[in-house]
């Protein structure tokens, strides 16, 4: 089982869109895939038309009183399941903090699923918290969408330092530009500069496209309702780089 997680300290950078589209592509390739919507806003759950509610809430899951497996819902797509968000996830930090070795908890919770799924994608809420640390500890690959802004490099450098210091098994960082508008000179310049300075960025850029915004309206991954769009083909390229 391979665990990928979308993460950025900032919100609105395309984490959920990335998680949803990559999860869809993973399942389309025949891998049994689970997406865990860890963001209490429940955007990924909403896109898949699944109610953002987990019996027993985050408390039940973190304390091991309710099973992750019982909370999983099938999406409308073959081989793709979703573990819904729950509003109680807003307190996940506190719940984790009450446990011994809090950053290992998510990884432990995922372990029983290793027979059932080939790919797990964690859609992480923004911010730096125990939740994000736990996600980094659980993930094999951390997907980091970067918006083309000068501060993005600084944020990414900080994240690289932070991840390197995770004991035991630091995840591989897979950063890529997101919400790129090639019509804007600033975006083009920032992409060129940052790519030159950091040679370890993924090649694919996800554009700032209206079809991506439409995901919330159409409640489906881009490839389902706009398979010939540039955005769909860019997610395809991104997945090909990660596969």
């Amino acid at each position: 089982m391979r665990v990928l997680a979308t993460y950025n300290i900032k919100g609105g950078v395309g984490k959920t869109s990335t998680a949803v589209n990559l999860a869809y592509l993973s399942a389309r390739d025949g891998a049994r895939t689970l997406i865990w919507d860890l963001d209490p806003q429940g955007a990924a759950s909403f896109i898949f038309r699944i109610k953002p509610r987990v019996r027993g809430g985050g408390k039940g899951l973190v304390r091991g009183k309710s099973s992750l497996e019982d909370a999983i819902k099938g999406t409308d797509f073959d081989d793709l399941d979703l573990l819904p968000a729950d509003f109680s996830y807003r307190n996940l930090d506190l719940l984790l903090d009450a446990r011994k070795k809090p950053i290992t908890v998510l990884r432990q919770l995922l372990r029983p699923l290793s027979e059932d799924y080939d790919t797990v994608i964690l859609d992480c809420p923004p911010g730096i918290s125990l939740v994000s640390e736990s996600v980094m500890y659980a993930a094999d690959t951390l997907l980091v969408p970067l918006i083309p802004a000068t501060l993005s490099l600084r944020t990414f450098d900080q994240l690289t330092d932070f991840v390197t210091n995770i004991n035991d098994r630091p995840p591989t960082l897979a950063a890529f530009f997101s919400m790129v508008d090639r019509r804007k000179r600033l975006h083009r310049d920032v992409v060129a500069t940052l790519t030159a300075r950091r040679g370890d960025l993924l090649r694919t850029e996800i554009p700032a496209a209206s079809v991506i915004e439409q995901m919330a309206e159409r409640r489906a991954p881009v490839a389902v309702f706009a398979p010939r769009s540039v955005a769909a083909s860019q997610y395809e390229s991104l997945w090909a780089e990660l596969r």
Partner: protein, 515 residues
């Protein structure tokens, strides 16, 4: 069968049932229909139902969309994979690498997959949506007929999307109220098998209906006909060379029949028994060369992996030589199995029952008496010969003991229906342990000698380069080491068989032999 799907069938003569079902769902759910598809559903298993026994169901679905292989297992999510292969029987090596092949390999090993049932179906998939337009239940309307043209009742299959079992229950409750639609138990696979005239586990011979009081001759005929069932059932697989285990099972049927004749054939009419004995010897000799070569070929990868100085690649000429020999022997075997002599042998075997009428029913030995008497004799022979074997005894004494153990084992198996299962199992346990050691001793010797003979032949025909001969020498040494190891284990395994406890189990089984 691991199938969480619920099935409903249209009652015979009822028209428009599924339309009424959709009307019944309409007030609460919206239903989205997909176009109708023609699908050929082929279920696969090994000849001995290994997948079924492991709680697995493997189905190939072929439609205009392509061919999908679907593996279901109890308590596990379904796995599906697109494949190219659609010709069966075949070994699982023809499948693409992936989770399905890996899972199957651990269960079926060297056995081939064969179609167990085939349905030609017309499918209509429907999705039941909740208020969020989310699919919560999948429905499939299916009209099918087996390839034998037996129609199955039109059915509606209902399966819940994960996490929406409660919704599926509600849909099911609405469906059962539809006139002309009935919920049924059992999977479509079971119905497809039934339409094909098959059933799970139909490879097993009909258990001989033995009773202790029946005439011994009738019991022996029933046992021999049970083995005939195995021989006739595996014959097609042997001739078509589906996998090596058909020949193995065929030979087991022949070998056990020979032993039965040897150990208890004196209660049969003697001319018929003698004729069958000659036929069975011929069949045993006929099938030995191919089976022996199968054993070498199947065992070669493991032996090659154990080479210390030579490389496994050095054995490639040896492997090719074995395969070529096997092709030659197999052709010879198939010719014989298509001969009039073989047909006559089967006729003699089938006709045996007609000659088994007791000449004087009042004085016939009963099956119970025969079983007890022959088991006691066989047990005594094993015990006596085993006790006479010391550390310096010749290998032949162990080989002889192995044959006597086999006889005892066959008798135990033949007369199993007459025994208390617990006593039978206990008596068998230590005998099996002893047989394993003796088998390893014998096999290692036979194979080691064979490797030397193969090497001599290959050298004389200039088909063995020097590295191959050296590697074969190492194989022979490896086998000799196995044999020495088995020899050191003999004393302990015989002591377990000859323990007071074990003897008591056999006494229990042979009680009444003098009556």
């Amino acid at each position: 069968v691991p199938d969480a799907t619920k099935y409903f069938v249209a009652d015979p003569g009822q028209a428009g049932v599924f339309e009424r079902a959709m009307v019944a769902l309409a007030p609460r759910y919206s239903v989205v229909q997909s176009p109708v598809r023609d699908v050929v559903r082929t279920w696969l298993d090994t000849d001995d139902w290994l997948l079924h026994r492991a709680g697995l169901v493997l189905e190939q679905r072929a439609s205009s969309d392509g061919i999908r292989l679907i593996l279901q297992s109890t308590g596990d999510a379904e796995r599906a994979q697109t494949i190219e292969q659609s010709t069966w029987p075949a070994r699982i090596d023809v499948l693409p690498e992936g989770a399905i092949r890996a899972r199957l390999r651990s269960v079926v090993g060297i056995r081939a997959l064969l179609p167990t049932a085939v349905l030609r179906s017309r499918h209509q998939d429907l999705r039941v949506l909740n208020g969020d337009q989310k699919t919560v239940v999948h429905l499939t309307i299916e009209s099918s007929a087996s390839v034998e043209e037996t129609p199955l009742a039109d059915q509606l299959a209902l399966s819940a999307v994960r996490g929406y079992q409660d919704q599926a229950e509600r849909v099911a409750v609405r469906l059962v109220t539809v006139p002309g639609l009935s919920a049924i138990e059992g999977s479509v696979y079971e119905r497809a098998l039934s339409a094909a005239g098959r059933a799970f586990g139909d490879d097993a011979p009909q258990t001989a209906q033995l009773t202790a009081s029946m005439p011994a001759s009738n019991a022996v005929v029933a046992v021999l006909h049970g083995f005939l069932f195995t021989v006739e059932r595996t014959l097609g697989g042997v001739v078509d060379d589906i996998d090596t285990e058909f020949l193995h099972d065929f030979r087991v049927g022949v070998r056990r029949s020979r032993s039965t004749l040897k150990l208890a054939g004196d209660v049969l009419e003697s001319a018929a028994a003698q004729q069958l004995g000659r036929d069975l010897k011929w069949l045993g000799d006929l099938t030995s060369p191919t089976r022996d070569l199968d054993v070498y070929i199947l065992g070669l990868p493991d032996m090659a992996a154990g080479l210390q100085s030579a490389s496994p690649a050095d054995l490639e000429p040896f492997r090719r030589y074995l395969l070529s020999q096997r092709r030659t022997e197999f052709r010879r075997l198939v010719r014989a199995l298509r001969s009039a002599r073989f047909r006559d042998a089967l006729e003699h075997w089938r006709a045996l029952g007609l000659l088994a009428e007791p000449s004087d029913p009042g004085h016939q030995t009963s099956a119970g008496q025969l079983a007890a008497q022959r088991l006691r004799q066989a047990h005594r022979r094993v015990t006596k010969r085993g006790r006479s074997i010391g550390p310096d005894s010749a290998p032949e004494s162990l080989h002889d003991l192995r044959k006597r153990c086999k006889e005892l084992r066959y008798l135990l198996e033949i007369f199993r229906p007459l025994h208390d299962p617990a006593t039978h199992g206990a008596a068998l346990k230590d005998l099996k342990g002893l047989q394993e050691v003796l088998g390893e001793f014998q096999d290692a010797e036979v194979q080691s000698l064979a490797v030397r003979e193969f090497a001599a032949t290959m050298i004389s025909t200039r088909s063995a380069p020097a590295p191959t001969v050296l590697a074969m020498g190492e194989l022979a040494a490896q086998l000799s080491a196995h044999q020495r190891h088995a020899r050191t284990e003999f004393a302990a395994s015989f002591a377990a068989f000859d323990s007071a406890d074990s003897r008591a189990w056999f006494r229990e089984l042979t009680r009444g032999s003098s009556s």
